[in-house]
Subunit: 139 residues, 4 copies
């Protein structure tokens, strides 16, 4: 399936005392990459969240190959590897031009969420709605 | 009024490429200090949030005097300076033993929040409930 | 002096359980705004950091007027209010179109930093280098 | 090998607009768990960092089973699965009492770092020093 690329700049708030991006902060770039991928395919996650459908990450694998540093411009490339009944499988790469910084696989569950007056959310797995499935699969 | 002190350790995730705690991350320590202050006074913010009463910060002033570094153990001291009708005024200090690292003043509004099926929250200012007011003022 | 505006999108990682941007995370937007302001004026903070000159925030005042929510597109407007001998005074606004979300004043110190084999940084205040001063003042 | 457990409380700054802990923030708990594990074994990572020896995460796998919510008290359990020549393999669990929230495997490389006047760090893989190896293996 198609790949979609966003570009990010590394600011101080992304780095740690090692002078490089903190390992958890790559996951923020990955979130942005997946969100923008979906938006590009016509799936606005913000809109679906308002309707009570959310896609929490249920599994993540990431290999850190090289470090992103303060001031770097990096690319986040995202594509969907496959669509399950109630899961979305992403493959993502973070690069600084030629240099591969990280490779990640994430799995989303599709979940319906009820929030009742700010109490802890109740979440139920559910089949990916057809409208979303078709948009995500469009070439 | 009384002062309450919590102790925190500085981890990698708090620091930035300058080798010191990132300026926004002190605000996380301050949040924890205020929460624990309230809890000590018998006001459980988690419980009130479930009832739809929250205390967003509406104003913050902070002077950064010295830096906290990776591995430091720091103290966050919190006290209430005054209680308005619908506001709480905190004074807080962050120290590493004798060394004063930061002094902050924060103002909370008291707000009632309705969340309707994950849509953007609607917030209305409200008088601080008497039960909370009394507990916060108890010596 | 001139104002410079950047646009940001609010992602999940910026928000908290209140459904809105966490109060400390606005400070990340402010950092990005100041960095891009300087870059626009020809002052590349990344380059100066490599030379050992950094600009830590020594004071911050912020009023939170309205909340940014997940999915919002916001604007961060930055300008320099005045330049001291060894300090830079910024005024910044965060807006969502017509809606004013936050107003902040931050003060930078100019500091020279020596890092000796990853030991805690030693920092000395210093006069703002003339090359930087001139660029920041250029209309 | 031995297991070591730390306890953490979930604050607002850990959560996101879904009302639960943001998926990247579990990695901060995991960092704290590994740091405290090492400290318990007599390996002070802060001290080694000053000597230029650091342990960046080079691989992470995490399964998210249940959500931690604002106000929860959670446990982070860490143990070393095996020690390679230049790598440390951790297995970690995040629990809320009986409820298993996440299971993670992380791999550290052992790296020597030179920082020359705040320039981007140069990192070279290296054998884990014997003093560290022995301490990590002590029952």
């Amino acid at each position: 399936m198609k790949e979609f690329c966003i570009e990010k700049k590394v600011y101080y708030h992304d780095t740690d005392a090692g002078g490089i991006v903190y390992y958890a902060n790559y996951l923020k770039y990955l979130e942005e990459g997946r969100s923008e991928y979906c938006l590009k395919q016509g799936v606005d996650l913000v809109e679906y969240m308002r309707q009570g459908i959310v896609f929490p990450v249920v599994r993540l694998e990431i290999d850190y190959k090289n470090s992103a540093r303060y001031g770097d411009t990096i690319q986040v490339k995202s594509r969907i590897e496959k669509l399950g009944n109630a899961s979305v499988y992403f493959v993502q790469e973070i690069r600084r031009g030629e240099a591969l910084l990280a490779v990640a696989k994430t799995v989303w569950a599709c979940v319906s969420m009820s929030i009742v007056s700010a109490s802890p959310s109740l979440m139920r797995p559910q089949k990916i709605p057809d409208a979303i499935r078709q948009k995500l699969l469009t070439e």
